[in-house]
């Protein structure tokens, strides 16, 4: 437990880990918003979530190539991905909405490997990155560093969260989405075009993922196979936070990012992923026993 002692010896490291983790979590939060939205409204678990992030990253990368500053790349990538999401809905997703959840998991899994491979063929497998040109902030006399781009991610996560809440509350489409989420059949009877609502929802999801992908391209690297970690983390976050609560999603995502970063530090990077998935199983099992005491089920 050498690493643990290191942490106690210089507590400022914890600050660094916490900040980094929370900022990583902000990007997970974006992917998780979209998943919660699609899951809640369309009853669909989208396993291709990470691939949407990946495609958003490529969109930002090519915009960057075309000499558009990545900061403007974020909304542009989001807009491009909205169209892509809409298209995807009209082509495939509409067939699996309102079917068994398990069907949606498998179908979107198929989509995810298809998108991976297409990206591999179209964009090449090279590791890409979009240089944002942002600098680094120093805190605590240089003991803690924060990349500005990560702060921007964090801000983007907050802004998107607020936007999402306001959109769902205020706009006509937002209200239609909420009505459909509550009861699709009733909404249809009331004259809501649920197909259009679903297409919008999925497009919105893709747009949010696209924005997070742009941030990934600016913060880390983009390659065709980066999706799975985002999908799985989005799952976890949504399960823990529940479907209807944007604030809870954000809080859980930030917490997960921090927990993961601490785990990587303490157990070594090789057990970081094992820790995350172990945690997922542990949370589920714990909730199951906790509910069983209540004579209830996790369902």
């Amino acid at each position: 437990m050498e690493n643990l002692r290191l942490l106690f010896d210089s507590p400022v490291l914890s600050v660094q880990l916490l900040i980094d983790g929370v900022l990583i979590g902000a990007i997970f939060a974006l992917a998780a918003y979209g998943m919660a939205l699609v899951w809640g409204v369309m009853g669909l678990i989208n396993v291709a979530q990470g691939e949407l992030v990946m495609l958003g990253g490529y969109a930002a990368f090519y915009l960057y190539r075309a000499r558009i500053h990545p900061l403007f790349g974020i909304p542009l990538a989001a807009a491009a991905m909205f169209c892509f999401g809409w298209l995807l809905y009209r082509l495939v997703i509409f067939r699996i909405v309102e079917k068994d959840l398990f069907i949606s998991i498998l179908a979107t899994f198929g989509l995810s490997i298809l998108l991976q491979q297409l990206a591999n063929t179209l964009f090449g497998a090279d590791v890409r990155t979009a240089e944002s040109g942002f600098g680094t902030l120093f805190l605590f006399g240089g003991a803690v560093t924060v990349a500005e781009i990560k702060l921007i991610s964090f801000a983007a996560a907050l802004v998107t969260g607020v936007f999402l809440i306001q959109f769902l509350r205020r706009s006509r489409m937002g209200q239609a989405i909420r009505a459909t989420a509550q009861n699709a059949r009733a909404a249809r009877v009331m004259g809501v075009d649920t197909q259009r609502v679903y297409a919008w929802t999925f497009g919105l999801n893709a747009a949010i993922c696209g924005a997070s992908g742009a941030l990934v391209a600016m913060t880390w690297v983009v390659h065709p196979y980066l999706g799975l970690p985002y999908t799985v983390r989005a799952f976890m976050i949504v399960i823990v936070a529940g479907l209807g609560n944007v604030t809870a999603v954000l809080a859980t995502a930030l917490g997960l990012g921090a927990a993961e970063n601490f785990a990587g530090f303490i157990f070594g990077a090789e057990y970081q992923a094992a820790f995350v998935f172990g945690l997922l199983v542990a949370i589920l099992v714990w909730r199951r026993f906790w509910l069983a005491r209540e004579r209830r089920y996790l369902q």
Partner: protein, 412 residues
Amino acid sequence: MPKRISRTHLVASGGVALLLALAFAAVAEATGDEIVLGAAVSLTGKYSVNGKNTKDGYDLAVERINELGGVKVAGKPYKLKVTYYDDESTPARAAQLTERLISQDGVKFMLGAYGSGLTKAMAPVTEKYKVPHVEGNSAARELFTQGYKYLFAVLSTSDYYLRDAVNLAADVAKEHRKDPKTVKLAMAFENDPFSLDVRDGVLEDAKKYGMKVLIDDKLPPEINDMAATLTKVRAVKPDVLIVSGHEKGAALVVRQTGEMKIDVPMMASTHCDSARIAETMPRLAEGFLCASQWDRHLSYKDRWFGSADDYANRFEKRFNYPAPYQAAESTASVLVYADAFARAGSLDPEKVRDAIASTDMMTMYGPIKFDTTGKNTAKPMVLYQVQGGEYKVVAPKKWAQTKLVWPRKLSQ
């Protein structure tokens, strides 16, 4: 309750029979005046960048050799041809495809896949079928301690990738009148056979000098962020940071050390040239040390391509990107075959194997001479440093274009 499933039986067994028949009918193999080499390369999956390099290297060699009239075996000219499959960067697939190439497609000579894990899975198969297997992209030392007789590698084994970085660190320490013992190392290696082997080499040399290893992390293959490891690096302030994790690892470490302002006087990584860190992130990559099997500025020559530089130009013209060493070593593997076919004067795999074993040739990739375990002991590794956005050879001394810049200047 009687469950009547007789029809089900019929449907099921009928389907089985039909499909099996369909599958078996799908094999045909043409051999005219062609020698077919088999290769499973990673066109998809995590090694697909290098898999493409490998395939391009093979293709360029085959094109060039055929352009020059092919290979003369016992007076008769043959053209070369490569049959490819995609191993998807997974060992299981690679082993299976090797088996298929040999037993179903009738391939008698195998070229290597990209990656030690894959070759580890393939070597037992080629060994079993007694099929020569010349590869230029799998450098794990373990491959050459199994007593394989049909496996030959034209490249330096992976434990040599970053030994020079350790040696350089020791030299620098001596120059500054310090004991190499005082040098502190931090290491992060991807958790795969190749990188773990690189780690072994580094550890061995570090032990030789008595250096202290402060951090020894294994990075998971799907890692997207190195913040946890780098925070540790900042805390313990090592003199050398060594990273190996294919392209992703190289790109991530350059990017994140830059962003987190991790100030380590010497940083070294594998694969930074194929990750193109100097081209895409010149500011952050400045001063990084990169291990390479080969460089276009080395003064090697052969009769097919001319000098190393000629090869690089030809490659760039053909494929529109600068030749990485992964392509050069793939080309060299084909050249070994061309040379061995001519000397063996036969296409009998046994005779070809013996001819390969006695190879002693010069190529644009470097001298090739196999020891009894099948690895090329004649060619050294080189170490680049990124200086002013370009890769400059700094070690070994014999090939050095320029002097090492130490300590590395932190970008602002």
